[in-house]
């Protein structure tokens, strides 16, 4: 979208330590295709500069006075932001909390400051191109976190396949906590009919009661938390 086609990659460097900013600035400016267009000493300045200058990448430190990098990232790339700016997060310590928060905040990358200069330059290029990258240790933990939770949707059609379309519909509403009467109202059918469907569902899935149906809906990924 930006920063390619011969044009240089425009970068904003945000870090509260002047020395660190100077270092990044020097490394990046030495590249023919990278241009540091602004520096920021705290999150507020970073947000301000990024909104004004619309850089291709913001190099963002996690810990900063006034507004930290997490909050700044949220404002620049978080969910709900209309035209997000890409953020590459940097930190000295790779604490889990920071990483997860950063990624949820919308960061396109998370690196430790002990990286080699080639890697930093490469990272900026990768992020500018719309891709993402993480420090190896972070990658490992993210993979672990990801693999830890069982596949959601895929396994759903376990016994669910045995249900008719209407039954699945009823199951969905059941899983949302609707009573038989409410389901009947929702589907514009009689409550007796709903009861029949419910009974058939429970029988087909070998469930004791609707509560177990709700549990099954969540466990199989039929319903995902936060989808309410």
């Amino acid at each position: 979208m930006t920063g390619r086609d011969g044009m240089s990659i425009r970068v904003v460097v945000a870090d509260d330590q002047e020395l660190v900013r100077a270092g990044f600035q020097m490394i990046l400016s030495a590249q023919p295709d990278i241009e540091v267009v602004a520096e920021a000493a705290d999150g507020a300045q970073a947000v301000d500069a990024a909104r004004r200058l619309r850089p291709d990448v913001v190099l963002m430190d996690v810990r900063m006075p006034r507004m930290d990098g997490l909050e700044a990232t949220r404002r620049l790339a978080g969910p709900g932001v209309t035209s997000p700016v890409k953020v590459l997060m940097l930190t000295t310590f790779d604490l889990d909390d920071y990483v997860y928060e950063a990624l949820r905040a919308g960061a396109s990358g998370f690196l430790l400051k002990d990286l080699r200069r080639d890697d930093l330059v490469n990272a900026v290029r990768v992020v500018a191109s719309g891709e993402a990258l993480l420090a190896p240790s972070v990658t490992r933990r993210l993979i672990g976190e990801f693999a830890r939770r069982p596949r959601p949707a895929q396994t759903a059609p376990a016994g669910l396949a045995a249900l008719t379309a209407r039954e699945r519909e009823v199951l969905h509403l059941m899983a949302r906590g609707r009573s038989n009467a409410e389901i009947a109202a929702d589907l514009v059918i009689g409550e007796q009919t709903v009861k029949t469907h419910v009974s058939n569902i429970l029988a087909k899935l070998y469930l004791r009661d609707r509560i177990h149906a709700v549990i099954l809906a969540y466990e199989t990924g039929l319903i995902e938390p936060g989808t309410r």
Copy 2:
């Protein structure tokens, strides 16, 4: 654990195309600290070789005859494997399904075959060291996937804080689908007592019935799918 301290990194290359194996073999063997100890033409051979030779890393192609790389990875690094072997997955096309399956199968990395030789060598070293890495496009999607789902635990203590320890205990069992009588048996108290607790829980959380309590448990992250 292995492959360091001056000893070379021992690698098994698994790919059904002879030319690809030869290419990887050549690139890796050119490194002073890397040694290709075996080649495999399918998943079964890869598993066999890896179990026999205990290499530091297995370079594994996704698509292979007889047994594909995913299944082979599961057997070498999947959940439940006692002494896992590190697997670096390689593919020509970065299909979502492959990636997610590979990571769940226990792979320590996932790269596209269009990578530069330096990156391949670097990847082998990273994986051998116990860390992980992904192709940038894969990283982007993984982050997206991760950020998509709202933070689980954190938000839990929303109204839950109002509950007493005992009530939380009852709520947990309720969320597991236990009936009042079963909960009573579990906690070695009278069923009447359980009913009282349940009533208090519902009142405190402004819930209509135990079904909504189950839903709330999942939605707040009190219970996580797959934790059964």
